[in-house]
């Protein structure tokens, strides 16, 4: 798994590549625990995420709770079909806004 953090205006983008499973998710958990001062919204770009297990979902839910409790919006973009299915089945698609692409996510946030 590889994590990239990009700040675009006041939006914090975290792009994750590869597999998010029990062995890699603690690293993402640490990264997402820190929200830099001045961030207005958070985008999780999962376009290159090939695999997520319940350990990864747990990290996503934690990050979403943290964002909300700080008054920030968190949205997700770019799910491949199999990852999308896992989000559907766990009820996450009803809780977290999912966008097709990073561009549409950023457009929706501004």
């Amino acid at each position: 798994m590889h994590i990239d953090r990009i700040v675009e205006k006041d939006v914090l983008i975290t792009a994750v590549r590869g597999r998010l499973d029990s062995s890699s998710s603690p690293k993402l958990d640490e990264t997402l625990a820190v929200i830099p001062e001045g961030s207005a919204a958070i985008v999780l770009d999962f376009a290159e995420l090939t695999y997520i297990s319940s350990a990864g979902l747990r990290v996503v839910l934690k990050a979403t709770k943290l964002a909300r409790s700080n008054g920030l919006q968190l949205v997700i973009c770019g799910l491949v079909p199999q990852v999308h299915e896992v989000f559907d089945v766990s009820g996450f698609t009803a809780l977290i806004p999912i966008h097709e692409s990073r561009a549409s996510a950023l457009a929706a946030l501004t």
Partner: protein, 143 residues
Amino acid sequence: MIIREIDIRLPSRLDQLEPLFEALDFFVSTNAIPPTPAYRLQLAVDEFVANAVEHGYEDGRQGEIGVRVRLDGDVLELTFSDDGAPFDPFHAPPPDLTGSIEERRVGGLGVHLVRTLAASVAYRYEHGRNVVVIRLHLAEPTG
């Protein structure tokens, strides 16, 4: 050529997931398993093996986990077994997926995911081992 069956044994340690996934990748690519059942196979192995390692041996014992994958026409049959504490993963009610973000409990999704994505699931306790059998469809049933 197809690999009809592969039967693996591993000590109950998380560092065994990597060689395990390598062997399953070999099975998947040799048999040209399509992406969706291949994903579900990985997910089931991930959730059940991790659960057995993390919850099955609270007494600190080193256990032995079995993972068997069998290709049977249009069905992929996974059999997990472990000699950890007896535990029926399908006994508990499914988690509550309604409610707001604030109300959602973090965790408790692994078994639910696999159960929902599987064609069938079964549990039995046999010869001192938990045995979980999960069947996946290779092709999405139409209609």
